[in-house]
């Protein structure tokens, strides 16, 4: 289990972490989600020992490690920009931690081969990092971090520098890996979809604070506040009321207290269609529809429709 208690970290005048207390369950996969500058990476680096907090306590498996240097914490760290050892081959990169620990040669050979197999880099073992693609480099980074059997695996925006397809593939690979090994894992991301996709538990951070800790579904259905509501998915804000685009129903006939709006634009995203609407009072909102719904309504830009929220949230 990873626990941080009342962590404060300042860089000059900037407070990156302001009294952060969080617990990560042993064997879970937790995402730290937030916009840039929210403190999520700093929190991860504090857990790894790469940053020293100005106040507060970090504990791993119940032991206070606040003053323990990173090399003795038994954490595996994966960096956004890979941090590959450029002058070493893929094999030597992965073997690094084992060589530092002076493991017997036969054991190193076996373990590295096994890990390269796991991340499907066996064929590229003799290559240098410069000869690999971004996705391959990050797989190497993952194998390198796992080589030393870390108590916890920490990933700092590991897929942030990769293109969308590779990102999805690696995300799935990480999830499968976690399901096999059950290593306590924390992944930092600014991508809500990534957090929801991969994690059991999501910690939403903003401005050095924690906004909410919840499983993905609960986070989406019961956001604690406006920030979480608008960060974990698209949202329409009408005064104090928040409505998800898929909770907007469009009708052709007025019916009771419904509001009138004009279709401004229809954006076709494959199966899904996003209708951009303007209400008669000038407020803009969007509705998420299926292609069938659009066809049934025969929606056209410029058309007048009536808007009914099927579900809305108001924060007191």
């Amino acid at each position: 289990m990873i626990a941080t208690r009342n962590i404060v970290k300042r860089f000059g005048d900037f407070t990156a972490l302001d009294d952060v207390t969080v617990e990560v369950e042993a064997g879970s996969l937790t995402a730290l989600l937030g916009p840039s500058g929210s403190g999520k990476s700093t929190l991860l680096r504090v857990i790894a020992g790469l940053e020293r907090p100005d106040a507060g306590v970090v504990s791993l498996d119940g032991a206070d490690v606040t003053g323990v240097p990173p090399q003795q914490r038994g954490v595996g760290f994966v960096f956004q920009h890979y941090a590959a050892f450029k002058h070493m081959t893929v094999w030597d990169n992965v073997a690094f931690g084992l060589r530092i620990r002076r493991r017997p040669r036969a054991e190193i050979r076996e373990r590295v081969a096994e890990l390269l197999e796991l991340v499907q880099l066996s064929r590229l073992a003799k290559r240098y990092p410069a000869q690999l693609s971004g996705g391959q480099r990050q797989r190497m980074g993952l194998a390198r971090a796992l080589a030393v059997d870390p108590k916890v695996l920490l990933l700092d925006e590991p897929f942030g520098a990769l293109d969308a397809r590779v990102r999805k593939e690696l995300r799935a690979r990480l999830r499968r890996l976690h399901d096999e090994t059950h290593t306590t894992t924390v992944i930092v991301t600014h991508d809500q979809e990534e957090a929801m996709d991969v994690a059991d538990e999501v910690v939403v951070m903003n401005g050095g604070h924690i906004e909410q800790v919840a499983p993905p579904r609960e986070l989406y259905d019961h956001p604690a506040n406006e920030f979480v509501m608008s960060f974990v998915g698209p949202v329409n804000q009408l005064g104090d009321t928040f409505i998800r685009p898929h909770d907007v129903e469009l009708l052709l006939e007025p019916n009771g207290a419904m509001q009138e709006a004009m279709v401004q634009r229809l954006v076709h995203l494959g199966f899904e269609v996003r209708a951009e609407l303007v209400r008669d009072d000038g407020e803009v909102l969007s509705a998420q529809l299926t292609r069938e719904q659009v066809e049934a309504l025969e929606l056209q830009p410029g058309q007048i429709v009536y808007v009914r929220p099927t579900r809305q949230t108001v924060f007191s």
């Binding site: 790469l50 760290f77 530092i100 000869q131 390198r144 030393v148």
Partner: protein, 258 residues
């Protein structure tokens, strides 16, 4: 196309006029009367002693400044200490200061009536070593600092999370990244140590067969109208410098991609 050739022609012409021509001329003058007169000129006792002095100067100044250079580079880039900026600027001082001034400063400090009088520094080998070390100080630092900045700290952090202590991180991660920059710095330091004239000249007293480096010896021979001796010694200096360069280039790996 014409533009490209013009640039090449200008660059080559510049090099020929400033470098190849004078150096080639020295070689030609040296061997004008054959190999043996030149050989005899550089194997006189004074010439051999001057060579030995030069090798001692370079042999001390180059390793000392290499170690200092790497440590200073690490200090400037990795450890943001108080006064790092000033330190960084002071390292460049030997480049800005005229070597004669350096020599005079050493003379004032260690010479008769100076602060550290009576230590057999001035007009002796220790003074010459100090002068050589001073003027060849910045080269390794200046090569290492930008490379350290460019490599960044992520690889070092990765090493530390993998269990490497500071020493292991340096040898396995940091040093491999800066070794070629250091090697190039060593070439420049060697060249400067071999060629230093002004500062060494002032503190040495220029006693033939005692405190004369090979560079001083060249001047000495030239003023003594011993043309072959002067040119031949100059060729020896050039050969040492070229050898350093070739050794460093040969050691550099080709495989390691950027």
């Amino acid at each position: 196309m014409i533009g490209r050739y013009a640039v090449r022609f200008a660059a080559l012409g510049y090099l020929t006029l400033l470098l190849a021509l004078p150096v080639g001329y020295v070689f030609w003058r040296t061997f004008r009367h054959g190999f043996w007169p030149a050989w005899h000129a550089v194997t006189t006792p004074d010439a051999l002693h001057a060579l030995k002095v030069t090798l001692i100067l370079a042999g001390i100044a180059v390793p000392a400044n290499t170690i200092f250079g790497v440590l200073a580079g690490l200090a400037i880039v990795r450890y943001r200490f108080r006064g790092a900026g000033v330190f960084n600027a002071v390292v460049d001082l030997p480049l800005a200061l005229s070597p004669v001034v350096v020599g005079l400063a050493l003379l004032l400090l260690y010479g008769r009536g100076g602060w550290l009088d009576g230590h057999h520094v001035v007009f002796a080998l220790p003074g010459m070593v100090l002068a050589t070390m001073f003027v060849s100080l910045p080269f390794v630092v200046r090569e290492v600092v930008p490379v350290l900045r460019e490599v960044g700290t992520e690889q070092e952090q990765a090493a530390s999370t993998l269990g490497a202590n500071a020493w292991q991180t340096f040898w396995r991660v940091t040093w491999p990244a800066i070794r070629w920059a250091t090697a190039y710095g060593v070439v420049l330091t060697t060249a400067r140590a071999l060629g230093e004239f002004g500062a060494v000249s002032v503190v040495s007293g220029r006693l033939a067969g005692q405190t004369e480096s090979l560079t001083l010896y060249v001047q000495d021979r030239y003023q003594g109208f011993d043309e072959v001796g002067a040119y031949a010694s100059a060729v020896v200096l050039a050969l040492i410098a070229v050898t350093t360069l070739i050794v460093m280039t040969a050691l550099k790996p080709k495989k390691e991609a950027r």
